[in-house]
């Protein structure tokens, strides 16, 4: 191979552009897209299992497999979210908000392509940040101690109002239910059992993934089965509307949500232990606030879909940055990857970027290639995936239910998880029929433990002073208050203005 310039950066790129490394990238993409599309099987699990086989490979090849699985799973998991209302991994929870309504309207194909473009854009944006500003940004991430994490989570909790899609009271009730579920398990500080009802498995808390599969997937199938007789509730095949690719006009409308998603996702991704699930929801709500058509959100808005998907994939660059530059896992997938890297003799941490600049450019190259190839593959196979919906619904229901069960079982090889999935499917059905949105409940379940544990850690160390002396925490708390107070105030102002002198839709900025 001819060396163009002997800089470590080009070295790093060249090591990736070898035939065998590229083959491993291809392998990773196949595995990643498959596991992503399978509800219950998360990227974390796939990477963990694959790391058992990749240990014998060269570090770069091994990293190529693991990173591409991670990247490709982010595309695969949107497919079941859009087609059958079941997030393939938690990162695509926000995809269900608008993706599934779009599919119901007969626009599944358009939703899938838009989502793939949004995901790719988010991914590229995140990678760019990793390539350009990893070190300074990781220092920002280090500022996030317990008080700052608590404030960030409080901000996340204010999203409950947004994801209630107009039904504020019922949304808050659902959110409270989620928070209540989050208290089940061992107390994070004292270790005492809470609401475990003498069920051994509940010591670990209410398992999160079975709950989302129940809430979204199972509940939707049960609902369809129940309502079928009254109005043939069948998902129309996409071909009816014929549109696959977003037109130029539509693309222009999507730039704003893409930007919002990319920035939101990158920031959230940097914070250790917070991942794509929360980032997607936050960006979805942010985009709704600045959209010209907020009323469409939750009913099939391509803007909402794009914002959520861009954001949840943009977290990847952020979590890789935190992991590599701080040695602190940016999310659960990276936690697994750190283990493999140490065995390869790569030690993530602040010294990595100065001691192995070639490695960083290799990582960036791997992720770039993986993103572009996965986007291409996603677009190619989309028509096949949508065909699935043309199956008669009674077949489809059975297939979805079986997939949900097998996927849930495979998380922990646990029948208990399957029971939980069924129970929460029934609960989800109840919520669906009585108009309680599932989004706030899921948000409560994810964020509840984070809020509680971090607040209590902060209180142990310095009392409330630790929260109120942290500038980051104060800013985040102020934004949270604004997120709750400003929209109703503005609505009132608008009403007054409209009464005063004709309608003048106030230009929104948050």
């Amino acid at each position: 191979m001819i060396q163009i310039a002997a800089s470590p950066v080009t070295d790093g790129i060249m090591t990736v552009l070898q035939v065998d490394t590229l083959l491993y990238i291809g392998l990773g993409i196949l595995v990643g897209m498959l596991v992503g599309a399978f509800p219950g099987v998360t990227a974390t699990m796939a990477v963990a299992l694959a790391s058992g086989f990749t240990l014998t490979l060269e570090p770069i090849q091994g990293l190529a497999v693991l990173l591409t699985i991670y990247v490709a799973a982010q595309f695969g998991d949107r497919v079941p979210a859009i087609l059958i209302n079941t997030p393939g991994t938690p990162a695509s929870i926000s995809t269900t908000f608008d993706g599934y309504p779009l599919a119901l309207k007969g626009q599944a194909g358009l939703a899938l392509t838009t989502s793939a473009f949004g995901s790719a854009f988010g991914m590229l944006f995140g990678i760019l940040i990793l390539a350009v500003a990893a070190v300074p940004l990781s220092e920002f991430a280090r500022q996030f101690g317990p008080p700052e994490m608590f404030a960030l989570v409080v901000f996340g909790l204010t999203m409950m109002v947004g994801v209630s899609s107009g039904r504020i009271l019922k949304g808050l009730a659902a959110g409270a239910f989620g928070l209540l579920l989050a208290t089940v398990g061992r107390d994070p500080i004292t270790g005492d059992a809470r609401f475990t009802l003498n069920v051994l498995e509940l010591n670990g808390g209410v398992p999160f993934i079975p709950v989302i599969i129940g809430f979204f997937g199972v509940a939707e199938v049960l609902n369809q089965i129940l309502t079928r007789r009254r109005h043939l509730h069948h998902v129309k095949p996409v071909t009816q509307l014929g549109q696959w690719m977003p037109g130029r006009k539509l693309m222009q409308r999507l730039f704003k949500p893409m930007g919002i998603g990319a920035v939101t996702g990158s920031v959230v991704g940097l914070v250790p232990a917070v991942g794509g699930d929360i980032a997607g929801i936050i960006a979805w709500d942010n985009a709704r606030k600045v959209s010209k058509h907020p009323e469409e959100f939750g009913k099939g808005s391509l803007e909402g879909l794009t914002a959520g998907d861009t954001s949840s994939t943009a977290t990847l660059g952020g979590s890789v940055t935190t992991t590599m530059a701080l040695g602190v896992p940016g999310d659960s997938v990276m936690a697994v990857m750190i283990g493999s890297m140490m065995i390869w003799g790569i030690q993530p941490g602040p010294s990595l970027f100065s001691s192995r600049p070639d490695l960083v450019s290799s990582l960036v190259t791997i992720m770039l290639i993986a993103t572009i190839l996965t986007l291409g593959l996603s677009l190619l196979r989309m028509r096949g995936m949508v065909k699935l919906l043309e199956l008669p619904s009674h077949y489809l229901w059975v297939i979805i239910l079986i997939f949900c069960m097998v996927g849930t079982y495979s998380i922990n090889n646990s029948v208990f998880d399957v029971f939980m999935m069924m129970i929460f499917g029934a609960v989800g059905l109840f919520m669906l029929r009585f108009g309680f949105p599932a989004g706030p409940a899921v948000l409560g379940l994810i964020l509840g433990p984070l809020a509680e544990a971090n607040l209590r850690r902060a209180l142990i160390t310095d009392g409330w002073a630790s929260v109120f002396t942290s500038p980051i925490a104060l800013v985040l708390l102020a934004i949270s208050v604004a997120a709750l107070v400003v929209p109703p105030l503005r609505a009132q102002l608008k009403r007054r203005k409209a009464v005063g002198a004709g309608a003048d839709p106030a230009k929104v900025s948050s």
Binding site: I189, T190, A193, L200, A335, G349, L388, N412, N413, R457
Partner: protein, 323 residues
């Protein structure tokens, strides 16, 4: 789509065939053990160092025993889901589980886990501990830390991976031995706990030397004292806690166990195989790469060790709960 369905169908058929095989043969005497595949359960989620140990040692055990060793994760409730499951399995040596110190300690935290329900096979590794402080900490030695904690009871904080965990408990021991009062800030596992100390959110970290190593190498943490009998060969400049007047040692460990009642002959066969696997260079490379120490104790030593651990941790956990 058709090909996907087809491959799914083939895959499922294959899986069914596999399960059929596994449940097929059942009769085997102790003499010709092992006559069928062995299941090695991992009580933790895939990806941690315990899971890694299982996946590294399984092929080496296969080499020694001549049968497949199938690794299966059964995480949940601090490992107690798998431990409970193992208790109810037939004690014939075909169902094993990885084990950690929780087997000895969960009983003190209202879990229904009794060490006497298990027959230890052996230990596979150890992760000796250390006390480390943020690099700009005023403490230059463990004595400084103890003196400060004496002057300001309850003001000095440390991060732990969780109440009753393998690293929170020795911190209770430290308080008892030094006659001081510290404040524990429990995190959700070792990685965030060590990171919190590196960021200066707490005054010190008590965890495995290997877990802290990343942050020490990065210049964010500084080892204050090792919780080992002798000085750590890789860090010869760092004194042991014992040298500083506090006779405290602790190490995390991972082992393998079978249900109680497994025939002695079977246990010793498994234990021998495990001993050889731990000596294997392949195993050593992986474990040392994770900054852990390959360590072997045979079945007999391990049984005694498990009791010792219970005796050691019990009072520490009670101490922590009393606060």
């Amino acid at each position: 789509m058709k090909t996907l369905l087809k491959s799914l169908a083939v895959g499922t058929a294959g899986l069914l065939a596999l399960t059929g095989c596994a449940s097929g043969s059942n009769s085997s005497s102790e003499a010709d053990f092992p006559a069928q595949d062995i299941r090695l359960t991992v009580p933790w989620a895939a990806g941690g160092s315990g899971d890694l140990t299982a996946r590294t040692i399984a092929p080496l055990l296969e080499k020694e025993l001549g049968v497949e060793v199938i690794v299966e994760n059964k995480p949940g409730a601090n490992g107690s889901v798998a431990y409970n499951w193992l208790k109810d399995q037939k004690p014939d040596g075909y169902n094993l589980s990885m084990m950690g110190v929780e087997v000895a300690t969960l009983q003190f935290q209202d879990y229904d886990i009794d060490p006497s329900n298990y027959a230890p096979i052996g230990q596979g590794l150890a992760g000796p501990g250390a006390i480390a402080v943020p690099v700009d900490s005023p403490y230059q030695s463990l004595k400084d830390l103890v003196a400060d904690a004496k002057a300001n009871p309850g003001k000095v904080t440390y991060s732990s991976p969780g109440v009753g965990s393998v690293w929170d408990s020795p911190a209770q021991g430290l308080q008892e031995l030094a006659g001081i009062e510290l404040t524990s800030v429990p995190f959700d596992g070792s990685a965030p706990a060590v990171a919190a100390a590196a960021a200066g959110d707490v005054d010190f970290s008590i965890d495995a030397i290997g877990t802290q190593k990343n942050q020490v190498d990065a210049g964010k943490l500084r080892y204050l004292a090792m919780l080992t009998e002798e000085r750590d060969p890789k860090n010869p400049d760092v004194p042991t806690a014992k040298e500083e007047g506090i006779d405290l040692q602790n190490a995390s460990w991972v082992g393998i166990m079978a249900p109680a009642g497994t025939p002695e002959e079977v246990v010793s066969k498994l234990s021998d195989a495990m001993g050889k696997a731990v000596e294997d260079p392949e195993y050593k490379k992986v474990i040392e790469g994770s900054n852990l120490v390959p360590t072997f104790k045979d079945a007999e030593e391990m049984t005694a060790f498990l009791d010792e651990e219970a005796d050691r941790y019990g009072p520490w956990i009670k101490l922590a709960q009393g606060k």
